[in-house]
Every structure is written in structure tokens, then in C-alpha cells.
């Protein structure tokens, strides 16, 4: 195991938390610890949590802290090596064969190789963070394939041989937990479950992300969103929705709308399901009044 201890001057979870805050991301102790351990131990970081708790944002913030570029691989069903790893430029190869005529030509040269996110991260381990987003959307075949990559950080291209990373690249995986991931994958990673933040923390996030929002507004929105999350809705509002709602309400207020009304009229940015809206509407006034109190 490649234990590094210090990465760009970060030698403890507390230091990482501070650096993340400077990158406009508020991490709790658990996340800071897990992220620090993943960097120090050279293991991938697996983040799970409900949609909209800031998993992808965490990866972006980590990349910003390390001063590296973020390479994102969005997973979907049927994603395979040619979309994740590398692909040959077949049309170009065919043209090259035709043009070469009688001369010999290496059609597996660099010019014909299309680099995909995982290969790109492997080739530049010290200047990139690889984000494998929503791994639960990919199928099990891809998960198995990923397992090999994440344990050895090497890729074999039959025509070119095996490529090995000079050092372990920083990898962040996220999952919405729409299905259970394979135990072997969890085992290889440092794991963290991101829960919804506390009201206090969420209010600070809202103010940090939307600078025009007043503190009272942020607190009211966070309280209302907290109540909405306890309702049996098909899509509970995430942190991004809370930020949007606070921003939208502030905008309406500046346009002349009165407070409770500004919240109520901008509910559409927080709840995006007709049935949820229909279900909550009879009690919306009371809920907002309670939250604003």
C-alpha cells in the first residue's frame, strides 16, 4: 500500500476540511476523514448518498484543492471499455491502410488511439482526478471490469501492451444506491455515506453558494426543505434545490413580492414533481409560515 501521508501540504483531515472550505465546499468530519484517508492510502474514494447531497461537488472540490483537472466519466447502462478506456479510430485506420498502398504502416500508433477518461487519468496520475459518476447506473459487467482497474491501476491494450500508472491516480466514485454495489468494489475503496447535512450546516452552504441570499432567508429555506424531506415525496429536494429555492425567493422578493408569497411562488424550483406539489399544496402555507418563524 502506497501510504503518502501528505499531499500538497495536507497532512490531516482537519487541514483537508479547511482546504475544502476554501474551495467552497463544506465537508463534515466523516467526509473529510474519508477523503483524507483515500488520498493518503492511495485508495479510491467511494461516496454514496441520496441524490442531491453533493457527491459530485465533493469530487470537484477535491480536484480544486489538489489543483488538478477533473476527468469525469458518467456511467450509464451498457457503458463498456470503448467508452471508458480507449477506442481505436477505425475510420482513420481504414483510410490510412488505403493511403499507404504498398508501404507498411503501423495502424495501432498513437495517432489512431482515442483516449477515454480512464486511460487519460492513468497517463496523467499526478495532474488529474478521475470521477466515476453514478456507478450504480452501470451494469455488473462494467463493475467487474472496474474492479481490475481500481486494484492494479493498469490497463492492457492488446495491440500495445500493458500500461501501468506511475503512481495511484486519485479516483472518486459516486453512487445513488439505486442498487447494491458488489462487495468487492466496496472493499477496494475508502467508503463514505453522505447524509443530508444538519440545518446549521446547510444554511451555511446555501449562503456560501448563493451570495445574494440573506441569512434569515437561508435559514427559512433550510427549515422548510428539512420539513419537506420528512414527507413521503417521490423526489425530496436536495441541497442544490435548497440553494435554488433561496435564490429564486430572493429574486422574487427583490422584484416586489412579499416574503411568504415569494417562497410559495418559487416552490417549483424545490419540488419538481406534479404529484408531490399536489400532495403538499394544502399544507404549504402552514409549512412555510412555520419554517419562517
Amino acid at each position: 500500500m502506497a501510504v503518502r501521508g501528505t499531499i500538497v501540504g495536507i497532512d490531516s483531515p482537519e487541514a483537508l476540511e479547511k482546504a475544502l472550505r476554501a474551495a467552497y465546499y463544506l465537508a463534515d468530519e466523516g467526509l473529510a476523514t474519508a477523503a483524507y484517508l483515500s488520498l493518503a492510502l492511495g485508495k479510491p474514494l467511494l461516496l454514496e448518498g441520496a441524490p442531491g447531497v453533493g457527491k459530485t461537488e465533493a469530487a470537484k472540490a477535491i480536484a480544486a484543492v489538489l489543483g488538478r483537472k477533473l476527468i469525469r466519466l458518467q456511467c450509464y447502462e451498457g457503458i463498456d471499455a470503448s467508452a471508458a478506456l480507449y477506442e481505436w479510430n477505425y475510420p482513420r485506420q481504414m483510410l490510412a491502410i488505403r493511403q499507404a498502398g504498398e508501404e507498411s504502416i503501423d495502424i495501432y500508433g498513437e495517432a489512431f488511439l482515442i483516449e477515454r477518461p480512464m486511460l487519460a487519468a492513468l497517463r496523467a496520475p499526478d495532474s488529474a482526478v478521475l470521477l466515476i459518476d453514478e456507478i450504480d447506473r452501470a451494469d455488473q459487467e462494467f463493475e467487474a471490469f472496474l474492479l481490475e482497474f481500481l486494484s492494479d491501476f493498469q490497463i492492457s491494450i492488446p495491440e500495445r501492451g500493458t500500461l501501468r500508472a506511475a503512481e495511484h491516480p486519485v479516483v472518486v466514485l459516486t453512487s445513488n444506491r439505486t442498487r447494491d454495489l458488489h462487495e468487492a468494489l466496496r472493499r477496494r475503496c475508502v467508503y463514505h455515506w453522505i447524509a443530508y447535512p444538519t440545518a446549521e450546516c446547510e444554511a451555511r452552504i446555501v449562503m456560501m453558494r448563493a451570495s445574494s441570499v440573506a441569512e434569515a432567508t437561508a435559514r427559512a429555506v433550510v427549515a422548510a426543505v428539512g420539513k419537506l424531506r420528512r414527507e413521503p415525496l417521490s423526489k425530496a429536494p436536495g441541497i442544490a434545490e435548497a440553494v435554488d429555492w433561496a435564490e429564486a425567493a430572493t429574486l422574487l422578493h427583490k422584484g416586489g413580492a412579499r416574503w411568504p408569497d415569494a417562497f410559495k411562488r418559487s416552490i417549483g424550483v424545490a419540488l419538481k414533481d406534479e404529484e408531490d406539489l399536489h400532495y403538499i399544496s394544502p399544507r404549504l402555507d402552514a409549512l412555510i409560515a412555520e419554517a419562517a418563524a
Binding site: 492510502l41 472493499r187 475503496c189 475508502v190 417521490s234
Partner: protein
């Protein structure tokens, strides 16, 4: 060499914590133990909280067992008393009293259910005696026929084929190299079929008591045959039993499930149970594009409109919703209860669920049906 194998005294307490976790059913691999020790060293550790966080990050206990992890941690490191708290109090169980609409209604005893069922019950009993012996046959049939007859859908992964809508450029290039770059034949790809998601929701309330054990056995058989399936039980709570029933040996699996479910033979609030199911994003996702099978008599204690809305929502998300009720023993069954009449237009099949043979027959017939 032997000196190196000796564990430092300080490390023993951590190793024994891992052993404690393992004996409580947490899967911890040796490499995770190594990472755990390395993490503790990295963190200092300056407090017990550091050790707890290091364990959470490296030993990766599943979130729904987080409470158990914390308890074991306290017992091991803080020396607190082992207080037995119910295992079921975790994320996999949703208590309907809290989550449901109209939570003011108390869960009732099931006397009314029993009497309402009396006539149908007598009829069903006769049939059940017949079905009892046939149960194992039915489950064997399910295991044998499942791969071929459970519903399938077109996947997004492509495979080589003689003909198909996509060109296989990789193969075409390789072939053409053999012919000096001359493309003689274009390789083809087509989309591969994969098993469709299945979601089984089993009513374990008092009015279904006589069928519950058989239904759980059936759920186990289905999970063994179709690994992508998901199984929930509901009564006054909603419980995910998929993980327990994935165990291969039936008795072991049923025992594990019995420990999880705490509302056997209680009241029923089907509408609230389904609403609760849809409200957890992770659970609700299991229904998307799935073949949903609900095994319940539809004797609803709660509000019928809640049930109707929930089933309507489910039917919009699912590929096909089947409602199997022990009341529908005869062909051309017309529902009499208010709840079943309310949901009739939202379910695609309302058929017999009174015997394992009937349920298996329906499950196996799903493969030949189309989306509704």
C-alpha cells in the same frame, strides 16, 4: 522473520474489533483490516472519534447497519454495556406510523379482516390442502423455467450478430487488414436481451397469515433464480428482505428474513406501505421499468384513496403491475372489496394468488406479455 509476524500489542485491540465485526455478520476483507490499521496510524489517532471514523471509511459497514456498527464500537472501545436494540431499526425498514399519510389512525387489530374473509377463506382452505404438496413442485418449476420464461428487455450492451442495426467497426477493421484493407463484409452488432427487473411486494399481515410462509419460500426461490429481483414485505411496516433472501440455503434465508421483519401477522395499511415504498428514492427506483408483483388480499384498513394514488403512481413507473390475491380463485374474478375496485383500472393483471402453483404460473407467464 517470525518477529515480524508478531503483532504489536497496540494493534491487537483493533484486530479484535474487526473480529467482533465479522462475528456480527459484517463482511470485512483482510485488505480492509490492513487499510484500517494504516488509517489509524495516519490519523494519529488523537481521539476515539478518529478510530471510529477510520473504521467507517475503511471497513465500509453498509449504511443501513451503521447503528449496529456504532453499538459494537462503543461496546469494544468504550466498554459500554451491550444493550440489545432491535436489529430491524435500520434504514431497510420504514415504519408507516411515521411515514404514512393520515398517521393519526391507529393500527387496528385484524378481527374485521378475519370475518370479512370468512367465506373466501373456507373456499381457499380446500384448495390449499391440494396446493400444499404441490408447493415444492411449483418452486422447482420456477427454478427450472425462470431463465427462459421470466420477462426480458432489450439491454444497452451490444453483441456480435449475423445481422443487426449497428456496424461492428472493430471486427470489420480486423477482417479488412487480412485482405489488404479491403472491406468485404461489414460486421454487425445487435442489442443483447437482459433479464427485466422484478419487484415482489408481499403482504405479511394477519389476513394473509395462511399464505405468508409459502409466499416467503416463493420469494426465496425467485431470488435464487433471478438475481436482479427485489423483495419487500409490508404490513404495518415496509421491510426490504432482498439481502436476507439472497442466502442460498432456504432455512437460513427465511430465518434471516424473519429477524428483519417485525410486523408478521399484524394489521395492514397497504396504501401507506406503497406510498412509503415510493417515497424512499432508492426503493422507488427498483420499480422503474420493472415487472411489479404485489401479493396481497387488498383488505385495506387505511384510506382507499391513498392506496389508489399509490398504485396509480406505481403503474406509471413500472413496466407492468400484477396484483395477486387469494380471493381471485375463479377465472373472470370480479373484485368486491372497495380497495380492489379502486385499484382495478391501474393494475394490468388481477389474478389468483391463492397457491404457489398459481403465483409461479403467473410469474412465468410474464415473459410472454407486453408492456401495458
Amino acid at each position: 522473520m517470525s518477529d515480524e509476524l508478531q503483532l504489536p500489542r497496540a494493534a491487537r485491540v483493533f484486530i479484535s474489533f474487526v473480529a467482533l465485526l465479522r462475528s456480527n455478520g459484517f463482511a470485512v476483507a483482510p485488505e480492509q483490516t490492513t487499510a484500517f490499521l494504516a488509517a489509524i496510524e495516519l490519523l494519529g489517532p488523537r481521539s476515539l472519534e478518529h478510530i471510529r471514523q477510520a473504521g467507517l471509511a475503511t471497513l465500509a459497514p453498509p449504511p443501513e447497519r451503521r447503528a449496529t456498527y456504532d453499538r459494537l464500537f462503543d461496546v469494544h472501545f468504550r466498554g459500554s454495556e451491550a444493550i440489545e436494540r432491535a436489529e430491524g431499526e435500520d434504514e431497510e425498514t420504514v415504519r408507516l406510523q411515521e411515514e404514512g399519510r393520515g398517521g393519526d389512525e391507529p393500527p387496528l387489530a385484524d378481527e374485521a379482516n378475519e370475518s370479512g374473509l370468512a367465506a373466501a377463506r373456507a373456499e381457499a382452505l380446500v384448495e390449499r390442502r391440494f396446493a400444499q404438496g404441490a408447493t415444492s413442485d411449483a418452486l422447482r418449476l420456477l427454478a427450472r423455467e425462470a431463465p427462459a420464461r421470466l420477462p426480458r428487455r432489450r439491454g444497452h450492451r451490444r453483441m456480435r450478430a449475423r445481422r443487426g442495426p449497428f456496424a461492428d467497426l472493430r471486427r470489420t477493421l480486423r477482417d479488412s487488414v487480412r485482405n489488404d484493407g479491403e472491406v468485404l463484409r461489414l460486421g454487425r452488432l445487435r442489442r443483447r436481451a437482459r433479464p427485466r427487473k422484478m419487484l415482489l411486494l408481499i403482504d405479511v399481515s394477519g389476513s394473509m397469515k395462511a399464505r405468508t410462509e409459502e409466499n416467503m419460500k416463493l420469494a426465496h426461490a425467485l431470488l435464487q433464480a433471478a438475481h436482479g429481483a427485489e423483495v419487500f414485505t409490508f404490513g404495518t411496516r415496509l421491510t426490504r428482505v432482498t439481502r436476507a433472501l439472497r442466502l442460498k440455503r432456504r432455512e437460513q434465508a427465511l430465518n434471516a428474513a424473519a429477524h428483519l421483519v417485525s410486523d408478521w401477522d399484524g394489521g395492514t395499511r397497504i396504501g401507506d406501505a406503497l406510498q412509503a415504498f415510493l417515497a424512499v428514492p432508492r426503493f422507488g427506483g427498483y420499480a422503474r421499468g420493472a415487472a411489479v408483483v404485489i401479493v396481497s388480499d387488498g383488505l385495506e384498513r387505511g384510506d382507499v384513496s391513498t392506496l389508489r394514488d399509490a398504485v396509480a403512481k406505481l403503474s406509471r413507473r413500472a413496466w407492468r403491475v400484477s396484483w395477486l390475491t387469494p380471493l381471485a380463485t375463479a377465472a373472470g374474478f370480479q373484485p368486491q372489496t372497495e380497495a380492489l375496485i379502486a385499484i382495478q383500472r391501474f393494475v394490468d393483471d388481477l389474478v389468483d394468488g391463492g397457491s404457489s402453483a398459481a403465483i409461479v404460473a403467473h410469474l412465468l407467464s410474464l415473459g410472454t406479455r407486453r408492456a401495458a
